[in-house]
Structure formats: structure tokens, C-alpha cells
């Protein structure tokens, strides 16, 4: 008997508490910048594609929903020929972002990607690539990598000496 009265009393008290439910979609919730939502591919500060098609996101993916093919431009800069994420399989775990050595793949605080047709949840590179650097505005993998690309010759990366003269035998 007492417990029933206590329950009624508690319910009554709750009706005066602030409401947690918000009127989505008229009202948008706050999502932290590190929220794990829709995946994007970012660009480096120079505007080039950040993704170097290393396949680490694909292998880290526990549901195997990322597939890509590496290719190279005429100067040796590697990039994905195609890059596909099947969002109907994605579990938004963020392992791909964690595995990415170039900060190319990032999860964003956008979750509004529902579709009536599952096929529309297959995103290609054109759908994924954004125009900016995302969460990491300054990093460029090519500035620290040792390979040569268009606009950066050997020895021009950070903390690199000029290429050695291999004909020189001076100590």
C-alpha cells in the first residue's frame, strides 16, 4: 500500500522536473566535436586529398565495410582510385579514424544519414570527400613522408638532409 503511494508521489514530482526529450528535428541536440557519426575524407592544408590509400582503415574495420583501390598520380602521389563505405554496415566504432595515419578519415557529429533505400547508404569517394582539413587543420602526411611527390623533391620533407652525393667518399 505504502509503495503504491510512494510511486504515485514520485511520478507527481517528476512532472515538475526539466524535460530531457527535445523536439527533434525542430530542435537539434548538442553533439561534441568528437561524436562518432557520418564518416568523411578530409583534405590536407594545401587542398590535396589526404587519403594515401594505405588500406589501414579497411583492415581495421570490424564489419569490413570499407573498400578502396590505391593508385598513383604521375608524380608518385598515392591516392584512392575509388573509396567506398557501405554505411548500411557501418557501426560507427571509429576504428578507421584511429587507424588512419594521415588524419584523412574522420568521424563527424552528423548522424542524419537515414535512407529509405539501403543502396543509397553506399557512399563513394565523391560523397565522402569534403573540402577542408576537418579536425586537424595543420597536418600534412606528405610533409613528413620520405617519398617524392609533385612539388616536393627528395630531402625536402621535414627533418631531412639534402639527398646524399653517392659518388663522394669523404669521411
Amino acid at each position: 500500500m505504502f509503495s503504491i503511494l510512494r510511486t504515485l508521489w514520485n511520478i507527481l514530482l517528476h512532472s515538475f522536473r526539466p524535460r530531457v526529450t527535445i523536439q527533434y528535428p525542430d530542435e537539434k541536440p548538442y553533439l561534441a566535436p568528437r561524436y562518432r557519426g557520418r564518416i568523411i575524407l578530409s583534405r590536407d592544408p594545401d587542398g590535396g586529398e589526404r587519403c594515401v590509400a594505405c588500406y589501414l582503415c579497411a583492415v581495421a574495420c570490424p564489419v569490413d565495410c570499407i573498400s578502396l583501390q590505391a593508385t598513383e598520380d604521375e608524380h608518385g602521389r598515392r591516392y584512392p582510385d575509388f573509396f567506398r563505405i557501405n554505411f548500411s554496415r557501418c557501426i560507427f566504432c571509429g576504428y578507421c579514424e584511429e587507424a588512419c595515419p594521415t588524419y584523412a578519415i574522420q568521424l563527424t557529429p552528423d548522424f542524419e544519414i537515414c535512407e529509405y533505400d539501403r543502396q543509397n547508404l553506399v557512399y563513394e569517394k565523391e560523397d565522402l570527400l569534403i573540402s577542408g582539413p576537418g579536425k586537424y587543420p595543420d597536418y600534412s602526411f606528405w610533409r613528413v613522408a620520405g617519398v617524392q611527390i609533385g612539388g616536393k623533391a627528395k630531402g625536402e620533407s621535414e627533418r631531412e638532409d639534402a639527398p646524399a652525393d653517392v659518388r663522394n667518399l669523404l669521411p
Binding site: 588500406y55 569490413d64 565495410c65 557501405n86 613522408a145 620520405g146 627528395k154
Partner: protein
Amino acid sequence: MKIFVDNRPFDVHAGQSLLQACLTLGFDLPYFCWHPAMGSVGACRQCAVKQYKDEADKRGRIVMSCMTPVTEDLRISVKDAEVSAFRAGVIEGLMISHPHDCPVCDEGGECHLQDMTVMTGHNYRRYRFNKRTFRNQYLGPFVNHEMNRCIQCYRCVRYYREYTGGRDLDVFALRNLAYFGRYEDGVLENEFAGNLVEICPTGVFTDKTLKHHYTRKWDLQMAPSVCVHCALGCNTTAGERYGSLRRIVNRYNGEVNGYFLCDRGRFGYEFVNHKDRIRQPLARKNGRLRPVTRSEALSQLRSILSGAKLAGIASPRASLEANFVLRALVGPERFYAGVSEAQYRLTAAIIELLKTGPAHTPSLREIERSDAVLILGEDVTNVAPRMALALRQSVRQAAFRLAEKLHIPVWLDHPVREAAQDLRSPLFVAATHGTKLDDVAKEAFHAAPLEIARLGFAVAHAIDASAPEPANLSEEMRALASRIAEALKGASKPLVVSGTSLNSQEVVDAAANVAWALCRIGKPASLSFTLPECNSMGLALMGAKPFVEGMEAVRNGEADSLVVLENDLYRRTSRENVDALLATAQHVIVLDLLANPTTAKAEVVLPAGSFAEAEGTLVSSEGRAQRLFRVYAPGGDVQESWRWLRDMMAEAGRQEATAWETFDDVLGSTAQAIPAIHGAVGAAPPATFRLAGAKIPREPHRYSGRTAMLANISVSEPKPPEDADSPLSYTMEGYPEQPPPALTPYFWAPGWNSIQSVNAFQEEIAGPLRGGDPGVRLIEPRPGNGYRSCVSEAFVARGEAWLLAPLYHIFGSEELSPWAPAVSELAPQTYVALRPDDASRLGAEEGQEVEVQWNGTAHRLPVKFRADLPAGVAGLPVGLPGTECAGLPVWAKISKPL
């Protein structure tokens, strides 16, 4: 012998290094400069262990395990804190200038340096100063160069210069700037340069053909395969992604190829992806070949097959099973071997020689261990390349003997080389021109085919006087023959190498006589013959009739329709012969992979599966039957030749064909019908084989993208294709245990992602694979006697004509590999080779065209000087487009065109 590792006793074999023993026992001991095929040099200081005097010794001392022989009651520690810190320190030093390249490095994911770095626990860079850098070089279409990644282990130059005898890769500069490359940019000259990709512990040398369609090792769907680019049957691992073949790597087989492949085998695979692949059935309508559906093709075949008198042309590059179903379709009476007349006779003779004579046919490993070699009439480097590498190692046997005498362990590479200097076991080369093995040969003899045969007979006679002696021998040749005979007699494992290259029965007979003479005086001589194609031996064992009889049968109406299996007939005989044959036959049905002149004349063309899309058994020139497996299920209408032929049988209303559901059914019938190849059944476990109840996955357990790779076509993932023909599956699920060696799709062991994980698959390092090296030998000798009678007629140069001898090119002479862009880049244009004095007699400069007439046809060919040709002999490259070369050598008239 007993040793103690971390106070646990282990039994190991004597005579090996401690590193080898530790790896055999399964310890994860890092190393760089050591390679099982090349021995120890102690350069990288990475394999340090702590050695203790006795049980009471607690301090111990750090030793390099690769430089320490195992001794009785040796006590070491691998786990000791001090030695672990030492190894981590060494790797930290090696990594100082290693660039931040792993994401864009082709070695990533199968990098020995990555594995070793993880193994030692070095995971954070403390070095804060500048890295040294280098410029890269262009090294040809096969190998990519990225020198920044080098850790100076010296493996590449040791392999390239000391193991393969290459001259154009070396080390330049000094200290931390040591540079491994060529003097200047250019194509690497050695035929085994592709192995640098596997030798290099990191990404300095990587596979350039893979770079064009780059895929990580973990993403490849792989299957055990056998190289189809020559008759040696090297074991390979072929990898596929997104429906195209991505690369070939070596698959260790202790008896056959060991750790190395040749560049033709490694980089010739891209013919599978060629745009001219026949991918759907073609049928002739109104004089033109047009694509038709499978059912249209089959219904057309049904109308052709009803009432037709079929003749079948079998193929030396198709599997035993495909050839067998063809034999069943056309009947053994009309089953003809699609090889040239000379090749047909020679392969039959070779099998006869190997089966009746006392000399046995050696595996490549046995060739490597021969201590005296006579090569008769073969340019081994260009015909059977991997054998040339084995022969090059065989000359080191003398050095190993000397080392044993001096109590130097044979695996201690530099001391052995220092002690031996130029000491080599005898190798004699008798060929129509200079070969790449001449540099390690004791003597090289360049002469016309007949003279080579006469030399062989003379050697046999010098060994055993009861062997026939050729008449009218010159004094020089007699002296040379006796020198060769002495060297062979003084050896404990002499070897005679010959083959079909010169199309000469006499040369083959002479080689047999030498080996038999050695056997007769009590030497365990072996006799190895090179053959032209991957299943030449298998086809010859099947007992097909000669091609000329097939042409005759069509001409006289015994047969009116032809079924041609994976064979370009224009490579087998003269153009008129094939033209006449194809014109006389009412119906011509061709099964092949690539469009060629024969498919162009066919009425129906069926798309056959390549080695990567079909399973089959091939018999190598050693007589070893080996199984290759489908790497991926081909899309569309492409299917195995045996399935097409079976479907044709079913269309023709032949009931027995309905029993051949799976590969094992066909293999069973093949083995039953042809006793000579009965052993082929044992080449690999049957399709019912299971490992802990599961099939063996073709995909590594890290295979990625399964739910996305086909999502662009349909978001609902299709069921993976099923494979009823083998115990392998097209998935990544399976029991994590090592499969039997014939079924190992790829080498991987925990902590060992690189190709060096093969250590974990061997019974003993560099020994046989666990469970025995794959393959079944089908030919064993029977102690016979009697010699082949010899030729006595000497070769006489004719003033007005030249004997046109065949010249082989590793890149270009074989049929399939030139379809790969990288190989075709290195294939020469056709030419005629003349001695400079002959050319000047004709008034022709190098590069100028001359008219060469043989067999009634005239060809205009540019001249190339070759001073190493004997007088009266000219050379013509085999297999290059633009010349007919079946039936060489022939006499040709050469004149300068007006």
C-alpha cells in the same frame, strides 16, 4: 645434439648456426642480414643472444646467434633483459633514418623490418635530428627503387652479386650514406632481380607491376599455384583482388624452387588480366567471329558435334585433366599432341631415356648440390631460368668441401668465400653461342649442334671405353672431352644437363650416354633435360599421337573437324601447313585464353580459364606432378578447359561425361586411364580434405572490405562462390592451423607477416616443408644398359649458307609472358644474329636488314652481331612475333637485299 635455451633443453641438429636452430625451434629471434639461402655474415647485430659458460654462469656474454655454431650443451638465453635491450637498441639505431613511409610503402603489411621492430618492442622514435635521404634510380619495369628506406643490411648486393652473379648492382659511398643501386639508371640486367623484392627486408626494392594495381598482402585472395612460363614447375603463390590477378610471389618448395623465382615467372602473370583475353564464347557468323551466349555456343557445338569425325589437338600448356577430357572427347585414336614434330620426337625420346637408363632426373635442389656439371646444347638461363640459378650454386660445392676441410661451417658465408677465392667445382658449357653461365664455367665450348653432340659422345667414350666413339674427332675436341671426362669422374654427384632447345636427337642421346657412362663406372650421375612448356612432360606421358598424323588424318578425310585445346598451331609448324589444315577441316573449335592466329580462324572459340582460374595438374621437366589451384572464380563464361570439353561431350550425348562433376572425378578417370600418370592423384589432397572440419581459406584472416567491395553493384552481399573442386574456400573463415604444404595458400605466422614467415612452415630452416615438399615424381629410372649409337658426321660450315640455330630469350621466347606489359617491354624485336666477320662478308652493318631464306620462305630481318657464334652458324630468336621458328636449326641462305 642438446642445447639449453632459457634453461629448457632442446634437441637440435649439429652443423647449423644458433640462429637457424632457434628459428627451427620456433623462437622469435629478429634478424636482417642473415638469409637461409645465403648464410651468415654477422653484419646487422640484430640476432644477439646471451651465451653462458655453464649452469653456474649467471653473467653470460652477448653473442650473435647467426655467427655461433650449435655445440653440445650450449646454454643461451633469448629472453634475458640485457640482450633484449641490446636488440631493441640495435633496431632503434637502424630506424634512425627510416622514413615515415609505411602508409605509402608497398612493403607495408608484409615488411620484415616492421615485424622485427614490433618483435623487439621499439615503438617510439627518440632521435630528433635530420634523416639522411637519397635519390632513387630507375631499375626497369620489374623492380621499384626507394632508397630512403634502406637499413644497410647488405642482403641485396650479397644476393645480386654473390648468389646470382649479377654485376650491375652494387654499394656506393660510405658510413650512413651507403647506397645500394646501379652506377647509373637502367634496367637491372640479371634475370633474377625480382627476388630482391623478397630479399630486401624493407621497401627499398618492391614489385613495380604490383604498384600499378596495389593491394596489401592481407587483402589478396591467394592460392597455391605453379608457374606456367617454363617446364621447371616452380611453386608460386598467386594473389587476386577485385577479379584481377595482382601478383606472384615465391612459394617455398625445398625440392624445387627453394626461395627464388625468375623474373619471367614472377612478372609474367599479367597476361591473365590482358584486355585481349577471351572472356565469352565467340562464334563465326557471316565470316566474322562474334560474341555469343554460352547456350548459343553450346547449341552450335551440338550441331557441329553430331556426326562429325573429330580430331583433337592437345596442348603442352594445358593441364593433364584438360588434355584427358579432350582425349575422351575425340578418342585416343584421334588425340594428337600439338607440338612440333621435332619436339614430339624429342620429348618421347627423353622419357624413354629417363625411364630406361640408370641416371635419374634431379630436382633443382639436387642440381644445386651437384659437384660437376656438363651442359650440352642448352642456354639454360633463357630456357629454364631457375635451373641456371641452381647451376650457379652448384659450382660452390668445391668451396664447401674446402671449408669443411678447414673446419669452417659452410653457412659462414664470407669466410667460406675468402677461403675458396676462385675455387669452383667444374661446370662445362657446350652451346651454340655464349651463355650467361659461361662466367662460372671451367670451359665453354661454342659449336654447331652436331659438334656439341659429338663432344658429348666423346666425353661418354672417355669415361667408359665401351661407349661408342665418334669418328674423325679433332685433337682439340678429344683433349676437351678427356678434360671434361676427368672432371666428371672426379665428382661425387655429377650432373648432365641437356634439353630440347636445339631440336637435336643427337645432343639428347649424347647427354644420356655421358650420364650412363658415369653410372656404369659407379657414379650416381643425374640427367636433367629442359623442356619448352609447363606441361610438355605431362602431355608426352599421355601418349598422344604426333601432330603430323593429325594433319594427315584431316587431309585424307579420316577426321573432318578439329578441337584445338589451348594451342596456337602457328607456333608448331609452318604457316602453309596450319593454313591448309584449318582450311581443310570443316569445323574448327578452339579453346584458349588469348586471341591468337589460331583462334582468328576458328568457327567457335571458347573462353578457357588461365592458371589462376582453373585447377589442374602439371608435370615438370623433373617428372614431378604438381597441382595448381584456382585463385579466384572467374566471372562470366570463362571456365576451365576440362569443363568446356566435358560440356561438349554432354552435348554430343556422351554419357560418361555426366559423371565428371568435379575436378577429382576427372583426375580419378585420368589417372585410371593412363597408368604413366597414375601418381598425379597424390599431388595434393582431394576436395574432401578438411582441416578440423573446415575448408582452407584462400583469404587471410585480416581480409578487408567484404561488405563493401561489391556494394556498388548491390548492397546485399552475395554468397561467396563455392569451390567443389578443391579443399580451399573463397572466404577468410577456417581453422587457424597450417594446412598441408600442397594446400598452403600463403605463408603467415603470428608476428611474421613477411614472406620470411616460411620459417614457421619448414621442418628445419631451409629444409623441407612440414609434411613433405609438394609434388609426386612420376619418373624413376630403371637400371638399364646399352648406349645410344652416336653420330660420326662432323659439322661442316657451308660457304654460301648458314645453319640457323635457335636463340632463346627469357623475355619473349615463351608464349604467354610477353602479354604482360612489363615483360614485353624487355622482349627484343626479331632479328638474325650473325658473326661480325660473316656480316662484313655480306656487307651488312649491325641493324641493317638482310634477306634470310629458309624452308622456302624469305624474311627480312635486321642483323645483330654476335661474335660468340661458331663459324657457319647464324642465330634466329625463337618465339618472337614475325618469324616462323618451328623446326630450327635449318640451313638458310642469307643475302643483302638490293
